[in-house]
Amino acid sequence: MTVKIYVKGIGILGPGLDGWDKSRPILAGLSPYTAQECSLPKPTILPPMERRRASTTVRLGTHVAQEALEQSGLVADNLATVFASSDGDTDILDQLCSVLATSEKAVSPTRFHNSVHNAPAGYWSIATHSLAPSSSVSCYDVTFAGGLLDAASQVVAEGRPVLLSVYDIAVPEPLHQVRPVSVPFGVALVLDSRHSVSVLGQLDIRLNGEADGVVTTLSSLELETLRQGNPAARALPLLAAIARLQPAQVVLDYVDENTLQVAVTP
């Protein structure tokens, strides 16, 4: 069974990839890619108080979401969201686990409530005054495919547009020893079942259990390194296909021998 959805907005932030407009020619192979460090802007969508309190994870997840939303022309206040991250806020996890290893165990209350996996979803809902449903998911290395499936199932089953934001920050030491994610990456897609003039691409998604698809990789060595280096960057082959403005078949990694087969039509 194939599920057909449209991409109405894209947000992207990672090393050398600062926003969709600047990233598009790079991903299409028209301009060279340089993996320079990216600075994390403070998302203007967050109210000043939340902007100050927001952790790196919240800033990354909401920044790309805001870019995708603005491109889509949709309004946030009744837009359902899916926030997806393999490891969540590893900065806060590191701080909490360090404190809990001491005898005082003096946990900061703000840090604790910011540690929930759905913190970006919570900040987003507060910022946009949205009472719409929101999900927060994790699928380890294949979190992008998992988040895409969750969002696509909502678009189809509920007949509503969905904002998907997928992100993972660089994992700090000592956790980095067991989870070597060294660069941050975030991507967001606004997905809808209805076509409109602003559509950036059509996706026909099939969950394939026959293991006949070879996972799509990137021809640029640097971009392929990025794809493998951050779970959210597994989105790159899909974004590259959209950027090239030509029909393409993309195979995304999922669990076991399953793959997501995505036919991309400009």
């Binding site: 929930v116 009472l131 956790l175």
Partner: protein
């Protein structure tokens, strides 16, 4: 139009109330709380907890050795109760392993392993112990991955982590995945186990009681943290024999858009979740026979939930929180209370609000203070989480 029901063709539970649904139901009937003074790890907190005894000495072995942690031990314990594993094996033969989804709610997964690894860092090099398998234990997805592997399923799988609404939301996820054609049936569940993060974290927010929690009580002063695992097999059809099993009839989700750790003061998100669940089920408020409350026993939660309940149901529907029995099992609360709701329908039973000595006089909803036997056709169960994430599910009979 109402959603097509998903039948609950198998279910299991493990919590401080006991191992399996018989033990759970027995404790409810006998009015025996599972809460005890905190004796977990090296925690020094003046509080009560709902601990599943014995997990400490039941390691996972063989091919699941790398998955060994308290959270996955608890998951395995629940998978092996109530014939659940066998029910799934039979379903696997009918549908095929790739056509059954696995959707597991959790708030902290196996974070205790990460806490222990930090405690055992090399004092010189800061190196984490080589016995720490982060991907199989500490990561948020580890429980979902373990459950899928243990049941030998190969379909779509997700960990849902929306704090304390996680394992209510999995019901909505399963419905949508089946509707979209990504799978034909689903194992949904929740697993959350005791850890220092939640014990000290909720304490730092002054949300933890020093007594066994007292939902809806005039003197309630916070929650008791518990741990639990529960699973449900959801199928769009059943074998047609006898009265149909209890089914998922509807779900409703909302966000508060208010605050990271306090509920909306007028219960707006809670009310929306319940209204959306009723609408999804094609039911009216008067069709509901019992409300299983989120009822954490914090002053703010119970007060705002009461307002929302009264707005939707008035004072005519019996309500109770079962957290005085199990404690607040966080990401496993939704599934634990879904299983209790199935027992309520199956046995015609309403559990009382345990530890409620004197009802808060400001409350307007009908809080049940004594166990009751009466026919129950439809239950709504509430789960609300940090970040203002709410989910209500409607369970009931279909005839």
């Amino acid at each position: 139009m109402a959603m097509s029901p998903l039948y609950i063709t198998g279910f299991s539970a493990a919590s401080a109330l006991g191992r399996g649904v018989s033990a759970t139901y027995g404790a409810l009937l006998r009015e025996e709380s599972g809460l005890r003074p905190c004796d977990f790890e090296n925690a020094k907190l003046d509080t009560y907890i709902g601990r599943v005894a014995g997990l400490e000495s039941e390691p996972l072995g063989d091919r699941f050795g790398q998955y060994d942690c308290r959270n996955n031990r608890l998951a395995k314990l629940a998978l092996q109760q109530d014939g659940f594993e066998d029910t799934v094996i039979q379903a696997r033969e009918r549908y095929g392993a790739r056509r059954i989804g696995v959707f597991i709610g959790t708030s902290t997964s196996g974070i205790l392993e990460t806490e222990l690894a930090y405690r055992n860092r090399d004092p010189e090099t800061e190196a984490l112990p080589c016995t720490f398998h982060y991907g199989q234990t500490g990561n948020m997805f580890s429980g979902a991955s373990f459950v899928q592997g243990f049941l030998q399923l190969q379909g779509p799988v997700l960990a849902i982590s929306t704090a304390c609404s996680s394992s209510a939301k999995v019901f909505a996820v399963a419905y949508r995945f089946i509707r979209a054609g990504f799978c034909d049936a689903a194992v949904v569940g929740g697993v959350d186990s005791l850890c220092l993060n939640t014990l000290y974290g909720f304490s730092s927010l002054e949300l933890v009681s020093s007594q066994p929690c007292r939902p809806a009580d005039r003197e309630r002063d916070g929650l008791s943290i518990g741990e639990a695992a529960g699973f449900v097999l959801l199928e769009p059809t059943y074998d047609g024999k006898g009265p149909g099993p209890v089914a998922l009839l509807g779900y409703g989700e909302s966000s508060d858009a208010h605050h990271m750790s306090s509920p909306h003061p007028e219960g707006l998100g809670a009310r929306l979740a319940m209204e959306r669940a009723l609408s999804c089920a094609g039911l009216r408020a008067s069709d509901i026979d019992y409300v299983n409350l989120h009822g954490t026993a914090t002053p703010a939660n119970d007060w705002t939930e009461d307002r929302a309940i009264y707005d939707v149901f008035g004072a005519s529907v019996p309500c109770s929180s079962t957290k005085g029995w199990t404690g607040h099992t966080l990401g496993a609360a939704g599934i634990t209370e879904a299983v209790i709701s199935v027992l309520c329908i199956k046995y015609g039973f309403i559990p009382r609000s345990l530890n409620t000595r004197e009802l808060d006089s400001a409350f307007k909803s009908q809080i049940v203070l004594d166990n009751q036997k009466r026919p129950i056709r439809c239950v709504i169960s509430n789960s609300f989480g940090f970040g203002g994430t709410n989910c209500s599910i409607v369970l009931g009979t279909t005839e």
